[in-house]
Symmetry: C2
Subunit: 341 residues, 2 copies
DNA sequence: TTGTAGGCGTTATCAG
DNA sequence: CTGATAACGCCTACAA
């Protein structure tokens, strides 16, 4: 069943059928009706490949993400897909894992599928060393590249991020305001966003005149239990009375550590997570967390994408500020500080 | 840059270029080398649309899911995407939400994109009333339809499910073995899988000779707090000493309810979740949960899909049995029962 | 082993 | 308002 079949049945040329299909050009009401009715009754659908060939687009956006089962990325993908579809775009999803070579390979793969644009979801795609970001710059020469929670400067690259530096700096400052003396920052990986958060934490400590011995940082990978073990080891050597983390699961680990050691939360140990994910309300006390406003970030990313696709000017970087959601793992003075801010 | 450009530069015909591109037919080593080198240096990639047009496939599978941010579905999508890609297929993701009309519409949309097959991820796509599943049967006439955790009989439909009925029946029985008298089953929606679980729970209660007044069931939607409120209301009228749920978040709600009422877990209230998700280890005590072996289900789904695509025979339904993961919200007698089983 | 030519189903440009 | 026809880029008989 193709456009010729329809045109034959309607007694018109394929050009006319094409016109009613695309609402382009003038077609008399009578023939339009006739063609439409035939299309309905035959259940004809235009062949997307042929259309793609002629138009050189199938209105499809490639989404690259390291791991779509990660709660944070899953949410980002959800928002992005919804937004794209509401604008008539399909999403082809591609999970790369965290290996650099694979990330490079899959970006090329996506490009070879002739997607209209690529979205890099998650800060893991921007490497610290510029040389390793060459493939992204190259990709941006072919189609717009949108980065969610990562920043890379380059023509055709548009970034929608949370201001992680500021988020962690502000949050750390507020906790320090509440008489905490020895903050600890726990992070998972030093991706773009990871580096920003770490910088923010350290900046706040410096602002406060803390000595290098007074605050601590630690990289932890793995499960909640790995976090607990890490903290058990660490507390043998260092003292800390507040823990900030780069994601909520690390904070849950911190909470479990505190409980295991009989430390009261938040009195003896204050804990602040990041992402304001569904994990926050699973524990007791519930987790205070920094909300990076992911849905806004994603919506903005799509706005940038659509502008880029239309060839309209768009800002290379948009940073949204985070918001602290106060629950039970931080003390009341902290809550007050957040509200008056 | 197209196949003609390459053929010209190589001084051969496009047929030869095509042959080395697809590894089909015989090509002399010399010309193959030459063509390959030109391809490499020009960075030429075959146009996927043109190829799709001729071959009538772009090796793309449509994945329909209600909500890709749901932890369970997110994991399913992850597994499915990985598996598909390892076999050279792309995944186009389409989130429908839970509205019936939207689900119907998006299934048709996906079909109109000429995907090679459709995967329905999650039991929400199979309605209780046969008339409402007509669109799935229709879709299956065009391409293979794979259902993950749902069951619908029909030509071209292949289902990979967890044996939810058996899972809940077995689990309920084991808890009842531990001297619990008044079980409560909490569920969210009565999708295919939801109905199976409920049936399994009720079957176990009947097996045990429990009277209709002795066991309870309740449908809850919304957040953890809605669950807590629901239970607060329910306990005014009914007595229950064990709670089984259709997903882990409901169980977390149950746990919070127990804590709020000062009930010790598992001594006074035994709780068993479903999905063995990351939520299980966030709370205290940690949540015992039924693991439906999602990664196996997904891997099997793709096996079915590939067979169907090749026209090889494949079973219409594959049911994998679940496994109970014992943690802290069920008592030790239960753990023993599970291990000896 | 290699080349020629037709077909895949649209859209778009021109004439009429 | 409508129709004929040329792209779009690839694959694959079939011919050489």
């Amino acid at each position: 069943m193709n456009i010729y079949d329809i045109s034959r049945q309607a007694g018109v040329s394929i050009a006319t059928v094409s016109r009613v299909l695309n609402g382009s050009g003038k077609v008399s009401e009578a023939t339009r009706e006739k063609i439409l009715s035939i299309i309905k009754e035959t259940g004809y659908t235009p062949n997307a490949f042929a259309r793609g060939l002629g138009l050189n687009t199938m209105n499809t956006i490639g989404i690259l993400c390291a791991d779509s089962s990660d709660p944070y990325l899953a949410l980002a993908i959800y928002h992005v897909e919804q937004e794209l579809r509401s604008h008539g775009y399909d999403s082809i999803l591609c999970c790369t894992g965290y290996d650099y070579q694979t990330k490079v390979k899959y970006l090329e793969l996506l490009l070879s599928k002739r997607v209209d644009a690529v979205i890099l979801a998650g800060s893991t795609f921007v490497e610290a060393s510029p040389a390793q970001n060459r493939h992204i710059l190259d990709a941006a020469k072919e189609v717009p590249v949108i980065i969610i929670n990562g920043y890379l400067e380059g023509r055709g690259i548009y970034c929608s991020v949370c201001d992680d530096f500021d988020a962690l700096r502000a949050a750390t400052k507020r906790v320090l305001d509440c008489d905490r003396k020895n903050p600890l920052y726990l992070y998972r990986a030093l991706s773009y966003s990871g580096r920003e958060k770490l910088r923010g934490f350290e900046a706040a400590c410096l602002d406060y005149g803390l000595s290098r011995e007074a605050y601590h940082t630690g990289g932890v990978n793995g499960s909640i239990y790995d976090t607990i073990n890490f903290l058990e080891e660490l507390q043998k050597q260092k003292h800390f009375d507040m823990i900030l983390t780069s994601d909520d699961e690390l904070a849950i680990g911190a909470l479990k550590f505190a409980r295991a050691r009989g430390l009261s939360v938040p009195e003896e140990m204050s804990i602040l997570g990041f992402n304001n994910s569904r994990f926050c309300v699973c524990c007791d006390p519930e987790l205070s967390s920094i909300d990076c406003q992911l849905s806004f970030i994603c919506a903005n990313a799509i706005t940038l994408l659509l502008k880029a696709l239309k060839g309209e000017p768009a800002p290379a970087k948009t940073a949204l500020s985070a918001q602290i959601v106060v629950r039970g793992t931080t003390d009341t003075a902290f809550a007050r500080a957040c509200h008056t801010a």
